[in-house]
Symmetry: C2
Subunit: 348 residues, 2 copies
Amino acid sequence: MTPRRSSPSGRPTITDVAALAGVSPGAVSKTFNGTGSISPATGERIREAARKLNWTPSASAVALRRARSQTVGLVLNRQSQSSSLSTTTADLITGLESVFAEHEYSLLLHLFTRDQGEEAALYRRLADSRRVDGVVLTDSTIGDQRYGLMRDLGMPAVLVGTPWGDDPIPHLPTEGDGGLGAVAEHLLGLGHRRIAYIGGPEDRVQAGIRRQAFQGALGAAGITAHPVVATRSYSADESAELTRTVLDATPRPTAIVYGNDIMAIAGMTIAREAGLRVPEDISIVGYDGSSIARWTQPQLATVQRNVVQRGRVAAAILLRQLGETVEGSFDLAHPHLVEGRSTGPAPS
Amino acid sequence: MTPRRSSPSGRPTITDVAALAGVSPGAVSKTFNGTGSISPATGERIREAARKLNWTPSASAVALRRARSQTVGLVLNRQSQSSSLSTTTADLITGLESVFAEHEYSLLLHLFTRDQGEEAALYRRLADSRRVDGVVLTDSTIGDQRYGLMRDLGMPAVLVGTPWGDDPIPHLPTEGDGGLGAVAEHLLGLGHRRIAYIGGPEDRVQAGIRRQAFQGALGAAGITAHPVVATRSYSADESAELTRTVLDATPRPTAIVYGNDIMAIAGMTIAREAGLRVPEDISIVGYDGSSIARWTQPQLATVQRNVVQRGRVAAAILLRQLGETVEGSFDLAHPHLVEGRSTGPAPS
């Protein structure tokens, strides 16, 4: 066996993968190029080794195998046939596209309604047709199958979010506690003790992280968030329905924290319809810091994220995988609380 | 000269263009394929004839010239580097993509900040690189150069909007008076006589059509909208600033009609900050019927458009140009007033 050559950058090489799987580099190459005959068991062992090392075929190897398309794919999950892209998604697209365009890459957009089989077929089609050089993944879910699929397809990818199960797929830096610690502290400081949390869908990794951060911060002060409501979507309609239920409880919460701004705006309207004043009778906090939050009455307290910048950073991570030189600053500040006027002292 | 063969569908043919320009069909072909030598004057005459007949190289001819990419381009105008896609644009993308995906077409997205030279270069690049089979144009402007550019490039196109100067570029059916007649009637019926209009940018064809429809409907009742304010953008920030000025006038208007919902929401907040009650002291009307309008307090009166459906219809028009068979219903209802609770009787 030849001595292992390690990459000068310290990144894993095809030789590392071959060594870990106990095969020749040629076998690794055959597996990922789909050429030659490799037994299913060996192929699986090779893919497993690649996964452990987070190795994907290098951009130059990919270029040899297929003509570069200078195009990147973004596959988005629509919650239903009728629902539209959210403002957060619009911000993400804006950020992604701005960096891709600087490097003369195009952005190919696909939407699909939730169906993992359909989504996997779409990625295979994109890979087979060589339409894209890489993909941007969003909406990381529990048990997400896409990370492994990208490796199987030899498709460079970046995840805008936090991978499930510490998968080594390239992704954005974490958002810490997502600003939820500051939200908890703010509400506790105003004397709130009965605090409800209407978060996002529990199959989303990010929704779970935020909920836990919020519960943890309240728990450190000896308070239990109640109720904690998981949703099916991030929609205003569902939030309105859940808010009605939450407000019917006895004793009623004095504050509600929502998974996004449009949910909080709907919640604010439902609270008013129930005869409650915001913030005198109930405090409301949104999430995302979307531009509409500045114009609600009262101005919505929210957690400001810079989603456009998240798109820019994700684009830079992917382009670097593709061998492009991406210059400029790609810092990502943690989300922070913007206090607004929709929170106030807990009613006595 | 051979007798003219007319297309069985009655659509103009290359022979018609050649006859009108007084040249051979081969010369038309050379002009649009950029092959052979055609004098600039003759080329101009041929393009002029094609324009008059709204003839573009047929999809099959285009297919011969370039491999089909099964991809359609959408080039969007961002108002500034920092601004994001609007919710209306997100709806449009949703509608377009749903029909393109059904026909296994991908949607290629480009954003750019307003610069016609930059935009023209982008279209040329898309055409030269054969990345797209056709394009979707939005934001029709006065003196728009893109319609002619598409013909010069032999690029099938659809305009989501109304073309400037009755250009024959394929486009959506008109929206009639855009629902502004009903808005005028509604406000007049409530006794309003001092009505302000804070519309959109005056270089947009659609903004001008709507303003004229509104002024016309008020004029028929002997009322003059005042002031009528053209904007640089459709942004909340600019609307807030203009609303302050409009509310400072003596006598103050008793109603303001806005170019979109987010502008109206910002206006509502500014009115309240000025100590005015909505709708007791001032009536507010938005435009677009975006989902956020349902959740404002009071619920915003707005003109409901089905932008997702507009995207679907535009996609169908373009796909048919590309020779695809598109089945299903592609009706487009005119925009209609949704009354909400942000309008009321004019204060005495």
